[in-house]
């Protein structure tokens, strides 16, 4: 399962399949697998997965800075599906150190990376050490500049245990925002009330704002930072796709 060849081959095969089929593959091939739920429209993953397997593992990163509406929504999802949702929290000592040294809104002066490192990445790493695979709601249309090639299945080298592998599934990679919302409406899936207030992408309260007509959803996140393309990807300019 963990060899690059296998994952690339399976990804190619799954790439043309529906999110439900991708989820079914993931849930049938990994026992110790968890859904990462952000408290936004990725709730569709929970709905789809629950219809395949009732004992799904779900976790959410509780950064301590989410909107009250998001906390209420997470609770609503927990009750709606009668599932456990693990709230994964940052290490108190690290948050205290950051706030003591830089205050509560340092990300507006610096950038969001230090705060996200403490409140999201460190707890996420710890959580992912406990599973063999995880499922995210990443979609290609969320960030065309940096996410144009999100595979539906990948070998997650950043978060894997030492000398071990971690498989990451992105079942919604090929779906558009419209398809996600069509699914939510057609299946009466509960959703975060912030969406009715113009929020498209939802994260921490200080770093999220509603977007207007014609704005890309990423303009609602970390909007004060210069939009720069990530430069670690390899993109041949003259390779015909």
């Amino acid at each position: 399962m963990s060899s690059i060849t296998n994952i690339v081959d399976i990804d190619s095969e799954l790439a043309t399949q529906s999110p439900q089929e991708i989820l079914r593959y993931a849930l049938e091939n990994f026992d110790n697998i968890a859904i990462s739920f952000s408290g936004a429209e990725d709730v569709v993953l929970i709905d789809m997965a629950y219809k395949i397997r009732k004992d799904i593992q779900v976790f959410s990163l509780d950064t301590g800075r989410l909107h009250a509406q998001t906390y209420r929504f997470i609770e609503a999802v927990r009750n709606h599906y009668d599932i456990k949702i693990d709230l994964v929290m940052p290490e108190a000592a690290k948050v205290e150190k950051l706030v003591k040294e830089k205050g509560l809104f340092s990300f507006y002066q610096d950038d969001h990376k230090e705060c996200c490192g403490v409140r999201k990445i460190a707890p996420l790493r710890k959580q992912l050490l406990t599973v063999d695979a995880w499922i995210t709601g990443q979609r290609r249309d969320q960030s065309p500049g940096t996410r144009a090639e999100v595979p539906v299945m990948q070998d997650d080298k950043a978060f894997s245990r030492p000398d071990d592998s971690l498989t990451k599934f992105n079942p919604l990679a090929n779906w558009t925002s419209k398809q996600v919302w069509d699914y939510i409406r057609a299946n009466n899936v509960p959703y975060n009330e912030l969406h009715d207030q113009g929020f498209v992408s939802i994260g921490c309260e200080p770093c999220t704002r509603p977007t207007g007509p014609g704005q890309h959803e990423r303009e609602g996140r970390w909007w004060w930072e210069e939009a720069t393309l990530k430069e670690c990807g390899l993109h041949a300019v003259n390779i015909s796709k």
Partner: protein
């Protein structure tokens, strides 16, 4: 064991900042001496050796490291801290590791 480092230059000829930072870090730590070959992936030339190696090993990040050992298939490392920990037996701090992850991971889906 043979280690190849593949670093990138952009299509306009400018160097990849992350590749440069990692190379500098390795130089300061004396780790560059452990690299047998450094190869360039030139984004303007898909036939450049680095681009061909990226295609061969299904890699879409830079820099990356190819570790070849006798009788074993090549191991690919796209994460620097994993490479130095697992191959060079070097120590890295959690802060450094998180900082590297932050450069590669979009966070809006979490």
């Amino acid at each position: 064991m043979k280690i190849t480092m593949v670093k990138k230059i952009f299509a306009d000829g400018s160097p990849c900042k992350k590749c440069g930072e990692i190379e500098e870090k390795m130089r300061a730590a004396g780790q560059l001496e452990r690299i047998d070959r450094t190869v360039v992936a030139d984004e303007s030339n898909e036939q450049s050796e680095g681009m061909l190696l990226a295609t061969e090993h299904a890699v879409d990040r830079a820099p990356f490291f190819i570790v070849e050992r006798d009788g074993e298939s090549a191991q690919i490392y796209t994460v620097y801290f994993k490479f130095v920990k697992e191959v060079l037996d070097a120590e890295t701090s959690e802060e450094e590791e998180i900082a590297e992850i932050m450069n590669d991971v979009d966070l809006d889906f979490l």
